[in-house]
Amino acid sequence: MSSRKQSRITNIWSKVIKDGSGNICTKVVVEATSAFEYRVSRRGNDVILKAAGVAANMPEGTIEVNDGLVRKVSLIQTSAGEAVFEIHPEHPCEYRVEAAEGIPFRTAIILNWAFLIKMFKGKKLVIDPGHGGDDWGGKGPVSLIEKNVVLLIARAVEDLFGQVGIQTVATRAADENISADSRFELAKNEKADLFIGIHTYSDNNSKVGGAAVRYKPSCKDSLLVAGMIKEELIQKLKVADRGLKESRELAVPGEIPGVEVEVVTITNWVEEGLLRSPTIHKKAAEGIFNGVRKYFANIGGH
């Protein structure tokens, strides 16, 4: 290490990017006040970066990422001047490290999504933004209407799946009347692997809040994927867990699994406030994406 004063680690952040060759990657960036020495190794899927000549200016501990590939990143100051960064991917991946001069000095660990892209190849989803046209669905205490807000969330969901090459077909792209039958038939006609309805919950009691997932009872994979979506959605949105519920109205034909995600409760006026935020739409989409990813990884293992 140079004789200059110790480099201070000021921030760690991550982002899903397309690299120069168009490959989807997670870029984990360590920001510091100056360059530092490091060694990189692997432990299973984990990438371990041991740094020397550094001091943690930011809090030590774990940062949840949950972007689809990377579950979390952690920083531990192991001794004076030495720190360890651990990146925990949930799937096998290749990585490379790049450093960029500047203020702050950035060390980027770039992890490739090739495994996930391969796992998703050929998969097709029907995304169903609930209600539409004359059917408004629920209404928030201030002004939001379910049929409008679920369309925004559905678009965020489609963007995320599209990014990894999963084909999505939406039952509606605008404010239009669509019958329940034609929504479900679309899944059959498109030979979809999964039907995902996007809804919000409504309750007469404005204090009731939270997320739930309804599932088609005649297909056991529906329960499996519903559980995984609910878990990941709640992890992202940090709202109350309203559980998993059977829905006999979810008449998706044949063996195609079907779920309806009640993202939050629109009649709870705090959660109506959450629904105004594009950040919340994106987080809801990420939760749904992560649940579906876990499901495909699970059934792919059989």
Binding site: R4, R8, T10, N11, I12, W13, E31, T33, A55, N57, M58, P59, G102, I103, P104, P141, V142, S143, K207, K238, W269, V270, G273, L274, R276, S277, T279, I280
Partner: protein, 214 residues
């Protein structure tokens, strides 16, 4: 001239923290005289206990009535947020602001409500306006921001500002210590170096050219 912007990740800051201690702890070894320490206004307010859970607010009749008029996507569209505005500025002033806003609307002028009822009300962040675990709170504007930047300057020896920056390049300087060129600063913060609400970087250090000789 600015050389770079260093976002500083902190622990989750709550009303148990003192803002000056937080800045000293996280910026003290990174910022040097000549730099600028920029602090997000919502975090200053949180340390002052000004993050309010809406269910703890009991809106009166006036708040229930007045909240029907602002834009539905704005910060004062709920009875609870309007009640907090009344608590901040008093009923007469908020009522006068509403009357001014009504006249302003007739002549096609915006912003009259805040001009009359108090510009500090424009700093109220509604639900989902800030980072977890405060996304279910209404966050009022910070109290005594000028005093806080002066104290930061005394404790660290570095100029300080409290700012409200969002992702649509809107930068408000709430308070700045004496040596800050506010016009340049607004340009330097327009890309929102505080990041989005997940990034937990409520302090940004602007490294200035004066400090290149290390």
């Amino acid at each position: 001239m600015i050389l770079g912007k260093i976002p500083i990740r902190t622990h989750i800051i709550t009303e148990k923290d003192d803002m000056i201690d937080v800045v000293k702890k996280y910026a003290g070894d990174v910022a040097e005289p000549g730099d600028i320490i920029a602090v997000a206004e919502s975090v200053v307010a949180i340390t002052q206990g000004r993050a309010i859970l809406p269910e703890t607010v009991k809106p009166g009749l006036l708040a229930r009535f007045l909240c029907l008029f602002p834009g539905k996507d704005g910060s004062l569209a709920t009875p609870q947020a309007m009640q907090l505005a009344i608590r901040e500025s008093g009923s007469p002033r908020v009522l006068l602001g509403a009357v001014a806003a009504a006249f302003g609307r007739i002549i096609g002028r915006r912003g009259d409500f805040y001009r009359v009822a108090g510009r500090h009300l424009a700093q109220i962040d509604d639900i989902a306006g800030t980072m977890w675990p405060f996304e279910r709170h209404i966050i009022l504007g910070p109290k005594d921001p000028h005093k806080i930047v002066r104290r930061i300057k005394i404790v660290t020896g570095v100029d300080a500002v409290i700012t409200d920056v969002n992702d649509i390049k809107k930068v408000d300087i709430i308070a700045a210590s004496g040596g800050v060129d506010q016009e340049s600063l607004i340009k330097d913060l327009a890309d929102n170096p505080f990041g989005n609400d997940d990034q937990q970087t409520p302090i940004v250090i602007l490294k200035m050219a004066l400090n290149t000789t290390d």
